[in-house]
């Protein structure tokens, strides 16, 4: 069969653990303490989707390029397809579901994606929304160049990035206006929103 580097990267038992050996993982997801019993080789992405039933985190390549599976781990954007669930034990994970409890309370980034047609099929969208949230938390007043570079770790095949770039520009403007000295703003809208929802 053809070489399948995807599985090489994401699906192998690590060290001496036997396939099928399960471990208990405890972590905080979207502000709630969660527990899952998973194989040590199970990725964080699969664990979120299958064991915690948070299917908003999407799997687009399983080799860390497309960014659809991006989540925040202790505030930093992470590819959950390249991380084992056991590695996330004890961390605080925020998924796209943690950014808004319902459609009436969208985050500024989510609102901007809708207003500026930043999505068509929507499959890449959770990854973009989470990445953009982390990016703006770190750099609330980005230049055009910085926005494009900041989004270049996520792939979209539908929009030609037109609405996505517009949305992030708009969200940056809104966030900057809302917190005039947001350079010291740590953790971004995602954390506070996530906690409000919990």
């Amino acid at each position: 069969m053809p070489e399948l580097p995807v599985q090489e990267l994401s699906g192998r038992p690590s060290g001496g653990l036997k396939a099928g050996a399960e471990v208990e993982v405890e972590l905080t997801v979207n502000g709630r303490s969660r527990r899952a019993r998973v194989e040590a080789r199970k990725t964080l992405a699969d664990t979120l989707r299958e064991d915690l039933h948070l299917t908003g985190t999407h799997i687009g390549c399983e080799h860390g390029v497309c960014g659809a599976c991006t989540v925040l781990v202790d505030g930093a954007a992470v590819r959950s397809c390249l991380m084992f669930a056991v590695q996330a034990a004890g961390t605080e994970v925020t998924t796209v579901e943690g950014l808004a409890p319902d459609a009436a309370s969208l985050s500024p980034v989510q609102r901007a994606f809708r207003e500026h047609h930043g999505l068509q099929c929507g499959f890449c969208t959770p990854g973009f929304v989470v990445s953009a949230t982390a990016f703006l938390a770190e750099n609330p007043r980005p230049t055009e160049e910085e926005i494009r570079a900041g989004l270049s770790g996520n792939l979209c095949r539908c929009t030609g990035y037109q609405g996505i770039v517009r949305a992030v520009r708009a969200a940056a403007g809104e966030l900057a206006a809302a917190s005039p000295d947001s350079n010291s703003h740590h953790g971004g809208g995602h954390d506070s929103n996530g906690k409000e929802s919990a």
């Binding site: 396939a19 808004a100 099929c121 959770p126 792939l155």
Partner: protein
């Protein structure tokens, strides 16, 4: 930044019944709230308890005989439920044809049987309790293949005695023979100039961000097959799997949730999905899920393009087109889908495009589709688009040879609305197109004349600036299976409006655009409307969403069904308000009497309550309930059109091409939602920028795919795609609502526009450019070859 300019040409405006409140608005999408919050439901999000997971064992050899296939170790592995090979799965009785193509004799099989014919061909599948265990077991399947000489290059495929399919006489999948059109040779002989060039397009991939996937469950008690698909519609799969299993088509329930893009790849179910359906039947009573991984998607999910077009044109001394001959070669791989994979038959009809040519008999088109030991062809956004890629590059080649500007040579040949109705040399009849108008609008928006002056100044400094134009007429097919879509609109007793449609949205915003049409045509509040699609037990038969048909055909039937249900609503309202139905006005789900907006009123909820619950009040002549079904038959062919204009700068040192500006002037008739129109165009252009500069599916001489991950098959990111600018020319079509399709055009005109811009930039170096993909090293090689030849 986005500049916009709109030119409306004469014609009726949208909105028959009421004022256009929603049609034409840049309304945010109704799909978005669930999708931006992670609450969409894609195929892999269906997680029924007890679901089994499948993975495939695939060939690592392009062509060879299977000498050993032992599944016993895999079958004994933990969690494995079944390991299936051709011996268990294939049957000579299998019917592997689509409603779209009809029964055919093209090669097809579910799993490789006895031999393999491309790398990635599925040989066995493992069904296990979870995907990890399935993949563990797949590695234990012992597969030995004795390699045979593969047929990879399509030119070589025609000459060699090796056969991709040993049961066939040749490697030619389909041919459009060269025809002796009377008088054509004379047209060439008498022309002032004859120019010939061959343009090559490499292998492109669709690459939806969601890979393919399916969940299949066979219920042995009801003998019903339940499918959840990632597709472009539910009815083609329903019929296909009914035939495959030999059961009535109403014993198959096919559903789609949200679908993460397709671009043609998921229009027709393919052999992996067939295998999963057969596995589900074999296993019985438990859902079997297969989610393709990205490597499988790139290597074996269906490939596109890889074709050449040789164009020979005759022009007079002024650059007026007199005649053309074109020959189209397509590499369709081993098992194209659907049918023989040939797009040339469509390209042949569309080739004359936006130009007048010289009447009947002035254009001849031939071609061959060729089997190779590579992954089979699938549809990709504008599958026939090589005609535009070849024709539009040829316009620039001819222009340069004659010393005429590319804009000027197009002006001398383009069809304008003064020529309508216009019959092309291939007998297409254009009634509502505007190629000349879009050409002028695009030239104006991009500042064509000013750019030429800037370019001259830049060239004097040694910089390489270029501008590229591309014109096309985009067909929407309305014949055969593609000719009809249907809608059932039901006003529920609550007054809410459910519209059941035959569409299969996978990113096209159908829930928004169809609601915009229905809201206006019914006069109801848009928040009262729900669009229901993607369930074969609930929705009417249709070909699904594809071929840029949703705007004109689904939009057309939404328009007609909404008008029909409105008549039913106003009849009941007239009874309740003691007025003639003709005098009833519906606005925002409230009926009033014409000329008396502050007078008596009745809400749609009250009208519906009367229609369902107080039926004696309706009188003898009104049918109870509020529901209509309409099926619309579209014209055989409909057309939209556009002009793309792009400026670039080529870096002599790095070979990098920087896109300076990208402008599109398009005419898709009445726009239901201009935001969505522009989104569709943008997506197509980005795919072309990817295809022309970054994406290239490569095989080595042995048929091994070399670009098997996103590290090798390079999709453009936000850093590579500039802002696009749009102009809209509006020429309403003659179909209900005046809508035209435009879903594919963005990807059709853009490759030649980009290639023409690079050609123009490199013009001072006297370079012949006939190939893609233009990676920086390829550009540098071209520049160096020019330097070397001096």
């Amino acid at each position: 930044m986005t500049a916009e300019s709109t030119t409306s040409l004469p014609g009726q405006l949208a909105g028959g019944a009421g004022a256009a409140r929603w049609i034409g608005q840049r309304m945010p999408r109704r799909e978005d709230p669930r999708l931006i919050t992670g609450r969409g439901r894609y195929v892999d999000d269906y997680q029924e308890p007890g679901t089994l997971h499948a993975t495939f064992v695939r060939s690592s050899v392009a062509r060879g005989r299977i000498t050993a296939l032992d599944t016993s170790a895999a079958l004994a592995a933990p969690g494995v439920v079944a390991v299936l090979t051709a011996a268990e799965v294939n049957s000579p009785d299998h019917q592997l044809w689509y409603n779209m193509t009809g029964p055919g004799r093209t090669p097809g099989r579910v799993l490789a049987d006895g031999d393999v014919r491309y790398v990635g061909e599925p040989v066995a599948l493992v069904v296990a309790e979870n995907r990890y265990l399935a993949e563990d077991a797949a590695e234990l399947v012992e597969l030995e293949i004795d390699p045979l000489p593969p047929v990879i290059d399509m030119q070589e495929a025609v000459r060699t005695s090796e056969r991709v399919h040993h049961e066939l006489d040749s490697n030619i999948a389909a041919a459009l023979p060269k025809m002796e059109i009377p008088g054509l040779a004379e047209r060439f002989a008498g022309a002032a100039h004859v120019v010939t060039e061959t343009f090559r397009q490499h292998r492109y991939l669709c690459v939806p961000m969601e890979t393919r996937g399916i969940v299949a469950q066979w219920d042995p008690w009801t003998e019903q097959l339940d499918l959840v698909l990632s597709g472009q519609g539910v009815h083609e799969p329903r019929f296909f799997y009914a035939r495959l299993l030999g059961i009535p088509e109403d014993s198959v329930r096919a559903r789609m949730g949200d679908v993460g893009g397709s671009f043609g790849q998921k229009m027709f179910p393919m052999r992996e999905e067939h295998a999963i359906v057969l596995a589900a039947r074999a296993v019985g009573d438990r859902p079997v899920k297969w989610i393709e991984d990205r490597v499988e998607n790139l290597v074996s999910g269906g490939h596109a393009r890889e074709e050449t077009l040789t164009v020979e044109v005759a022009v007079d001394g002024e650059g007026v087109l007199l005649a053309a001959r074109a020959h189209h070669l397509e590499n369709v791989g081993a098992y194209p889908v659907p049918g023989n994979g040939q797009n040339g038959a469509t390209s042949a009809v569309i080739f004359p495009g936006p130009y007048r040519w010289d009447g009947p008999g002035s254009v001849a088109y031939s071609g061959e589709a060729i089997y190779t030991n590579t992954c089979g062809h699938c549809a990709y956004r504008g599958p026939w688009m090589m005609e535009t890629v070849g024709r539009e590059q040829m316009m620039d080649v001819v222009a340069r040879q004659l010393g005429i500007d590319p804009l000027e040579i197009r002006r001398r040949n383009v069809i304008s609305r003064d020529h309508l109705p216009f019959t092309t040399p291939t007998t297409l009849v254009y009634e509502t197109v505007s190629p000349a108008e879009t050409l002028e609008q695009a030239a104006e928006l991009i500042g064509y004349e000013q750019f030429r002056r800037d370019q001259e100044a830049a060239r004097a400094e040694g910089r390489l600036l270029g501008i590229g134009l591309s014109l096309y007429v985009e067909p929407q097919f309305g014949f055969g299976i593609l000719g009809t879509e249907a809608a059932t609109i039901r006003v529920e007793p609550s007054g809410k409006v459910n519209a059941y449609m035959s569409t299969g949205s996978h990113g096209q915003s159908v829930e928004t655009t169809m609601a915009q049409i229905i809201a206006d045509e019914m006069g109801v509040a848009i928040s009262d409307i729900r669009i229901i699609q993607g369930d074969s037990q609930a929705t009417p038969y249709g070909a699904g969403t594809g071929g840029s048909r949703t705007g004109p055909i689904a939009g057309g039937v939404a328009h007609e069904a909404a008008q029909a249900i409105r008549e039913r609503v106003t009849a009941v309202a007239g009874r309740l308000l003691e007025a003639s139905p003709a005098d009833i006005e519906m606005t925002d789900s409230v009926a009033t009497v014409k000329g008396d907006p502050d007078g008596p009123r009745v809400t749609l909820a009250e009208i519906a309550a009367a229609a369902y619950l107080n039926t004696d009040a309706l009188g003898p002549d009104l049918e109870p309930g509020l529901e209509v079904s309409k099926r619309y038959k579209a014209p055989g062919l409909m057309f939209s059109n556009a002009c793309h204009a792009v400026t670039v700068e080529v870096d002599r040192v790095t070979g990098q091409v920087k896109i300076l500006r990208y402008v599109v002037s398009e005419d898709c008739g009445n726009m239901i939602n201009p935001m969505i129109v522009e989104g569709q165009i943008a997506g197509g252009i980005a795919q072309a920028i990817g295809g022309v500069f970054y994406e290239n599916m490569i095989y080595d001489a042995d048929g091994n795919p070399l670009t098997t991950t996103f590290l090798d098959y390079l999709l453009p990111t936000a850093a590579e795609i500039p802002d696009f600018e749009y102009g809209h020319v509006v020429t309403p079509s003659n179909t209900p609502g005046g809508y035209k399709g435009l879903g594919e055009g963005g990807a059709i005109a853009s490759p030649p526009a980009l290639l023409n811009a690079v050609r123009d930039a490199l013009a001072p170096l006297d370079i012949t450019l006939t190939e893609q993909a233009l990676s920086p090293d390829k550009i540098l090689t071209l520049i160096e070859s020019a330097n070397g030849s001096r």
